[in-house]
Assembly symmetry: D3
Homo-oligomer: 327 residues x 6
């Protein structure tokens, strides 16, 4: 994902022109998509801070549709929510804060504007991040690994349950991002593209690692990653990448909020324990997973939420966030 384009350019002496070229090229890849921006998507609009990114963020708009749900919106619509260097660090700050925020029990992630994200912002990357560092190949390599690891960590800080709602396009690093979320929804007009092979590299921020564990057909995973072809909503649903498809963004945002609400209304002890153990299970044998959850639950079963859950149900109340104290 990280592209040492600049270093190559510098050596061959045509850096300035090339940079512009690269940016143009990449942009054109997503402009082909002529999505319509429907003016009536009122729910979605209500969910974002209307005017722009939420300070101190410049690429994210944060809002609270309900007390216990945080909405994180990728918010550089004029740049198709391309991920620039600000984004990569703001994501870490944002999700670290959400991890520490006991009020936040579920997160919805979506994109502002015409599409979810065009992926990495190559232009910005070149100007800010990808200066070649080091006196020889080994030292340049060392520096590159440090940067890749940092990018990878961006999507590993997601501790709270996350519902991601994708409309329009989800390209390149966008796929890395959504495979690190818990529940994926999309609109009927959404498409997905593991773009990296098209620009000469193997995807390295998580797609190749998580996609095969996220969807059921290895043949499809291979085809997507090796040919960079687009996958549309129906195939995303039938292959299991998303669990639901909605007619349009408005319906999807309502659906995302509803699912997030279901999660936020339940015991945070149960919800967080479930998320942590699902991730653990993905990476370990069944035997190791069973041992781990038994160790986990030897304390967690001593929660008062068990009794509260019973009471709530008895009184035929739907689950409420306030029933359970913070975790």
């Amino acid at each position: 994902m990280i592209v040492s384009v600049c270093s190559l350019a510098k050596r061959s002496g045509l850096c300035t022109v090339q940079r512009a070229m690269l940016a143009v090229v990449f942009r054109s890849a997503v402009t082909k998509y002529k999505g319509l921006w429907l003016p009536s998507q009122t729910v979605a609009r209500a969910m974002s801070s209307s005017g722009g990114a939420t300070p101190p963020y410049t690429t994210l708009a944060i809002s609270r549709p309900t007390e216990s749900i945080t909405h994180v919106e990728l918010h550089r619509p004029e740049k198709r929510n391309a991920m620039n260097s600000a984004f990569w660090s703001e994501m870490v700050t944002c999700f670290n804060e959400l991890s520490e925020d006991p009020e936040c029990r579920a997160v919805v992630v979506s994109g502002a504007g015409k599409l979810f994200t065009a992926g990495i912002d190559l232009m910005d990357m070149m100007n800010n991040v990808l200066q070649p560092e080091g006196d020889d190949t080994a030292r340049i390599s060392w520096g590159l690994k440090k940067k890749i690891r940092k990018f990878q960590e961006t999507f590993s800080v997601i501790e709270k349950p996350v519902v991601v709602a994708i409309h329009g396009a989800c390209v390149g690093a966008g796929v890395d991002m959504i495979t690190a979320c818990d529940i994926r929804l999309c609109t009927q007009d959404a498409w997905f593209q593991v773009k990296e092979v098209d620009i000469g590299l193997a995807a390295d921020v998580g797609t190749l690692q998580r996609l095969p564990k996220v969807i059921g057909s290895q043949s499809l995973v291979n085809e997507l990653a090796l040919t960079a072809r687009k996958m549309y909503a129906d195939e995303a649903k039938s292959s299991g990448l998303v669990s639901r498809v909605f007619a349009d963004k408005e319906a999807m945002m309502a659906g995302a909020l509803q699912i997030a609400g279901e999660i936020a209304g339940r015991s945070p002890v149960a919800v967080q324990g479930t998320k942590i153990n699902l991730i653990y299970a993905r990476n370990h044998s069944v035997a190791d997973g069973l041992d781990y959850i038994a160790t986990w639950n030897m304390s967690m079963l001593q929660t008062e939420d068990l009794m509260k859950s019973a009471q709530a149900a008895l009184e035929k109340k739907s689950p409420k966030t306030k029933t359970y104290s913070k975790l």
Copy 2:
């Protein structure tokens, strides 16, 4: 799954009422389902011991539809086959016996009455199993882990190939159970619910460990486990949880018997070797799995079943149990 409700209740001094509440609550969760009990399910009825559980079992009815197939029926229909403490130990006894029984070559598991199972029997659990033990948090925790491990082992004793046939509802610990079986079938009216998050805990008898390895959409697994929503037969089929859906229980039981017959009629050397290696492969890398089966087959290929299989086929006989000697 294990709920130390009672210990909490005891501390807060409202144990008696609360216990009743909890039981009512949980029961109501499944009573909403108004399944019709069709009187004409003759095959299914024929398969179970008509009058009730088979002594010495009180929760299971055991029968032998054919010489080589054992039918294990969850048989507390008046309690919706809720899993009480008797069930947990009878399952172990029953499947341990089946493991040692060379006549039994395949097992069909189903539920008596209106639905497959409502999951754990909270009322019974509270009265029998879940007394808080230990003088401090650490000691209570220690005791809880021992109990969870015991519950987990209930579903790990299943050595013979098992076809599980689900009708009506399969809730909570029922999902833990069916993910530990080999082949899953259901009726058109069946639904599945990872219920645990609703009662304040992370599922700990196998669902979170096995479900992600059993179906192809991690997004769907997460949604089911984090929101406790019901999944109906069609989604169970398209997601791969079950491999076939039948119109009704009668058809399903016939289908289950037919599949079990296919298995029972084949070489037990081949069948057991296949099951063991499939489970091994799920928990290991491809390289480790290949090494293991090569080691396995260095003896197993020296079986006379190879020649017998050829002869049976030559004579155009369908495979028969008696062709192969016991394992």
Copy 3:
């Protein structure tokens, strides 16, 4: 897969007749299939060396539909492309050569004649490979393991990206083979059968290890492997075994070539890195996979292909093999 039939036969004194029996039996299993061989499959025909296998191969026909794509055709049509001992060693030679051939950037595998492959050639196996060796059970076992390992390695030498195109039938060892390929396509009339349990053994050349990691429904995997039932194209598609189904072989071969062309036209640095990391990810935890690709890309991102990819895209050229130098 390896069958020490002969040793058993020898002991029981009826080797000659039995061998013939076995062969007949197995052949009949696939002859039931009355596939039509359409005379107009011109593309497919064009892709194979018209007359037969390509010397020095006796079971494979090798051709180059384009400069960068190699077509490997199983070519014993009169024997339904059954895998004899020549095949097992020719596959290794062939794919080892392809691995070393920098011109070859993608491979298409298909079968000549009426079907993809009937699986292992039992008759040939018995006469050539499966002579019992060793003075006691332990020594026979030792020899068997060596042979199994050798067979397993046949499908592990596949380093280049492989699109496999299946028509008609794919039986037994054929399934082992296709699960080791990257992208699977099939015709509407194709069917798949994990045949081994029918002939008295647990599949040991990769099916049991790879199939559960290749498709999304463990219930289906178990059913296929334990009952040896056929799976047809539609289920192969919905379960994710294949990523596309075509009306007939001609269309499929065109599709396979098109996909292979997409791959061959892209940066080999990107393509090979993607394949290697996808396979690594399948066998390791997400954390290990992320570390590995970061280590991989610390050198691979220093490729000139990044800039070339940009230029190609800028000039609106579709990706071309010649753009990128050999790997």
Copy 4:
């Protein structure tokens, strides 16, 4: 370890004589050792039930040197504590009971008579356990695996901390046994022998798995296992197999009791947590081990033993069993 000698013998028709031969042979291997049985080992004698095995055991003498320490003595001195079939099942019963016995906080294992153990009792094995079962090689193999797994489990039931005290000789299955214990002590006259290669098999009850994780020199492990040479006390100490060497059995038993007392006097929450996490660490990466103990301690740190430990220390009392309540 399990030897299907009898089945071989039966086939070759010389079973009776051969059995006797085998027994004689094996016995002679340990009779070469002319250990002196010192009459004054009063402590050791006091620790065992003087007359013989403790009913219902026939091979074990159980005593309680202190309230919280259990002494398990291998007690077939006239047979050099050879492990017969009674032993293998009594060990399981005994350690399962100790696991459930909250009074028992540490266990000392030693051997009655002239030496620790001569290993498996081949004579008994042949008459009781190793009847060949099954109609062909595959079925005999299946039965053998079941038996080996059962033997292996004998040494996996050891949940409490165990100090094992070895004098004289520790041969074959004895080495399997002591590597499954926690702390190993020996007398100056002790020797150890991985005997299995001498009788034609690879050790299969744990030695090959645990020895390389128990001592620091792989070269030494390989030499011992491949040549069956004896290792004496000094090398056992310098290689780390034992942590202490004592002049004679009396001194060793006193030392074993002292160490067991140190353990029994400490918080059982701390002791059991330490043992469990040490075993976990041996089989997992450092990262996995750190995660596991953090999960473990999230409940265990809430023990009252922390405060009690402080008080005991403040009052300058040495740790006492009674300080801490049972686990």
Copy 5:
């Protein structure tokens, strides 16, 4: 390691007195040691900032004995270098900075005053960190896990090669710390104690995970961890915990500097690659480790340090830091 003593104390209502008690108790454990503080340890003194901790640190004194070696001294001598909450966060800051500092090529860690460290500062812990948080057992547990993970991470930030030099005593969390370093040295008067079991808990900052992978005798590891007995310098050497023992601190510091100088003078590409791959190898199979280093070295072998190393050697110069450019 983390002790929720205060929460327990609070509940039982004797918090103030108990706190004092605990502190006194723990302190007395290390005061028994009557080490002499030799006035002539000039080298050691020269290495530390004479007056005290180096601002902004309050527990660490940082100095640069040579341009490329950083000396980190635990510097709360009046508190026996007990690890208080300031220490835990300063360690992270300090080692993160060292990781980013290209001038620093090796680190020496030692302790100021009479001993290396008395381990965790219980008194400080109680007042600052260990307030019970959460409304029920589950929530307190959740908070505890977060804290333990944070402590664990303190010793995982160590990226540069570290030589740790231990004199006097190294107790409790001190053992956790040194097992996370690369090379361990000690004085003749040093002793080590896995103290945690004495205060009622299982060590959870790394000792139980790393010690078994660091020294060769599992029996010794178990004995140390289960009985909390002291291990003195000679046994530390023979067991492999330390690789060298020195007569006194002055000699040891000279030795540590010499070893650090050897490391700092070599190619940082070689040194860091070696450290990273040694750690990787510890946690993975040999096969995985070989694949990883091959991937690592495909870039790292393209370093100019290879040629520089040759030149330096040719000119018979001992290796110098300045020979190699920064990493």
Copy 6:
């Protein structure tokens, strides 16, 4: 280990001189050692083909001290047995042949001339193997990985039990080699050096992966690998790298032959099973290792060697190779 020195040199334009320099430098590293070549080492001489390497080998002398023991001698004494490109391929050929040779039951490896080996032959490497290949960094990297993997495989082909006897010096790749052998012996004058860090790289042919699993002190492993200091015989023994030290080469060769004879005289079923399972255990958890050997022994216990072992022992014969038939 592989050094792309030449590519670097080429770029900087001083290839010819530098090459010579590098070779001189490296040679001088081992010439410092003034070992005496004792004329009376008759056994050792007898073991090697007197005149030189054994055709078709140019770097190895192969002999058969007994019928069942093969002696492989590194035989370029005039080049200090430095490993040139001929060596790397001859090793593979040689050990592959030994693997297939049923007469060979144990192997002794040693070095001709003054020392065991000076490690890789840099001069030869530069002229033959290490030409930079590829148009950019990525392609050079790709080629380097292929070469490293090939080198690594050289030491993985060792299937038979190998006793390696080291005298004089064992440097660099020599350490990679001996850690891949089973039993290590050395003379009193032997020394070992993990040399790679001295020439600017991390050792990549096995030392970093195997050494930590071969000796018991991680601190020592780290020190050796990070500082390239020499380790002499006594430390090699106490750390467990070798299991025995001999006064001189003659005594060592006699000892090596004696150990190899012990191995060759035992049942090859037992010996090979032991070796395979020891290696398996090193790379897997105890639980996985126990399962594997149980699967292994389900066939291997059906060997006639069990009875033969008994008979041999009964007749008080020492074990003989001819007793057991070939494997």
